[in-house]
Symmetry: C2
Subunit: 456 residues, 2 copies
Amino acid sequence: MAQKPSIPKGTRDFSPLEVAKRQYIISVIKKHFERSGFQPIETPSFENSETLMGKYGEEGDRLIFKILNSGDFLAKTKEEFLQTKNSLKITPQISEKALRYDLTVPFARFVVQHQNELEFPFKRYQIQPVWRADRPQKGRFREFYQCDADVVGSTSLWQEVELVQLYDAVFSDLKVEGVTIKINNRKILSGIAEVIGASDKLIDFTVALDKLDKIGEDGVKTEMLAKGISEEAIDKVQVLFNFSGSLSDKLQQLRELLATSEEGTKGIEELTFICETVEELGLKSAQLNLDVTLARGLNYYTGAIFEVAAPETVKLGSIGGGGRYDDLTGIFGLKNMSGVGISFGLDRIYLVIEELNLFPETVSNASDILFFNYGNTEAKYALKAIQKLRETGIKAELYPDKVKMDKQFKYADKKGIKYAVIVGETEMQQNIFGLKNLHSGEQQNVTLQELMSKFL
Amino acid sequence: MAQKPSIPKGTRDFSPLEVAKRQYIISVIKKHFERSGFQPIETPSFENSETLMGKYGEEGDRLIFKILNSGDFLAKTKEEFLQTKNSLKITPQISEKALRYDLTVPFARFVVQHQNELEFPFKRYQIQPVWRADRPQKGRFREFYQCDADVVGSTSLWQEVELVQLYDAVFSDLKVEGVTIKINNRKILSGIAEVIGASDKLIDFTVALDKLDKIGEDGVKTEMLAKGISEEAIDKVQVLFNFSGSLSDKLQQLRELLATSEEGTKGIEELTFICETVEELGLKSAQLNLDVTLARGLNYYTGAIFEVAAPETVKLGSIGGGGRYDDLTGIFGLKNMSGVGISFGLDRIYLVIEELNLFPETVSNASDILFFNYGNTEAKYALKAIQKLRETGIKAELYPDKVKMDKQFKYADKKGIKYAVIVGETEMQQNIFGLKNLHSGEQQNVTLQELMSKFL
């Protein structure tokens, strides 16, 4: 019995047009990565489990896809765990490899493993799929691409400046205007917690502050009080609840607020350098916006934190993010390697471009010309011309069978091919080609030379 | 304790230069796929196990990487299989998904699943990784890319003609000359078995004949006798042991040999059409060679069989293969869909090009120019110029830190960057740039405009 074919939930097949659209986005990102001096590396789809496990928290460990050992994998398992059906304990005994969960941990592993071959600072980009056993939902998949650019081995803030420019260059090139690059700094968040005497409650404070958009000032304050942050402390940072104005206004407000915090002041210095330099150099179409509620994986970042918001007309939230982490490779034993990087959310960017109707009309991988098939003699004449066309870079194909013209027309139409070439006895005798515009229906006789120049 | 980082055996990390070289090969293959009217699709990395299992034989099933179910996967397993540690029986109970083993079965699944959206004949190409739990050895990996182009839904032999041309176009473009495209036909092999009265021993006969190169005429005959093929039968096909001459000579010999076999005669007709048409249209640098010992996955193919041999100076064997299969999609319930396709062996082609020293010198993703960093004022001046350079497509980067010149030089050298730009106070005052050729050591002062035009 034949099965009814299907694919695992959370995964996708991509049609030629979808591949073309995705490739278009990827090619723009890649182009700007390379223009900014990033070079591609690739790492294996699966890693040794110990490389991945314990790096993403308990929830992350759960969402990592594990690969079953080959052969008689039960042979060496512990009776006890089998008898009690202890899946958690059995897992490491029957699975040594796992699909990568992101590109950052494999990159850290790569840097440490190849440290003697690399020249630091090392600027790499990586555009590869990752896998997560997450509950699939709109815009969230179990297999999806990440597009990351990172630099390790330098603490220079010029990189933050360039990464902001890189976001701006990519989104401007994609014609996605009105993007907001939000920036914050871990040190500023730490500084705020410090001045209100709640350094031990940094996470609680930040999580609550991050909800300002959704639950409003009163909601945030209630949550902070519930978490044990005093009313007095909250009063001290009142300015954050109505944080607005120009970049320099905001920086000035923070400077006053955090005057007593060394770390906070350092954070403001960093942000000031980044923001002022970016402002002076100018952005094409993106807005840089200091957002003190931005926290993104707070445990991870140590300096600048970035997040890119889609244009306001599209309700999609974040389409990119990143930041600086002081000890990327420490988990693999290589200390003092500061890193900074950004990521592009391919699937979300796809949705934005689709919704705003910004895919160029030329995005396609369809042939330029279809030669109709009128029989073997004509096909051979056609194929001689097709060879010449292909040599000059034109995408040309011959309909493989001599079937009714309707069918050949329909084929061209469905594939999005805009021109057909008709070659019968007359054309062969005169050494010409009937070129038909399948949209307008217009037809003209042309020489091979004319045919070529039409598409070059 | 930090782990010493490593990757699973049979997998690879790719450095920037390796990625650049692989991308170069892939881009040439892709270019010619598209010029020939093939369009890309992509399928998920893992499929439902039932889609893959049972499609590659028992050995294949064993080599498929299975993914462990998420969560409490032991909960619903049978006590009996756990107690007896029966890995084989437990596998389907704890694993529902598996990494793809090739691109052909997922393609067949794709065609059946999307048959109502597709226009036939459907010409697709697919360049994606596949995974096999095979014993790793030189040139054989557990994760590797396949590059396949197939057409389903037409029996036209024009496709075989075009696929031969496609092989020729790709290898010529890669400057790999002296490639031999071997061609055979399943129907000819069946015809031979028929005329010697050994149709039931087709596989044995073919397997033995395939060893002609290695064990010689006597060895093959001994093996055939051992398999129960009569001496009389072997005498009848004596011509095959010294099969040589031009294509038309060979076809004529086969025509005589297989005169009484309807299927054999059909095979010769097919081959004659393909070979004569290819000959008439001409090949750029490849040789087409009729090889009756060629069998490649005999159970699979029903018509033409292809294999591409590397140039003789490189001892590497096959760098591509393919053929026609009459019922590709039958396993998923869609009957009568003839398919024909070819595949390129990326890893082997890489080795050939490396060995013959054929990678173009320009294959690189390194920056065109490195701006040295002399401090923040100079860096800002530099970054203004870098922005302009990048906008015109030049790959330019700023060394992020103000460190000793030695270190910045070494960085450029190690990354393969050929030009450095030196900007100090003098240059800023005069609004110029010191451009240094890092190979020759030559240095000159240029304006921004001159700098740009040098790299465009």
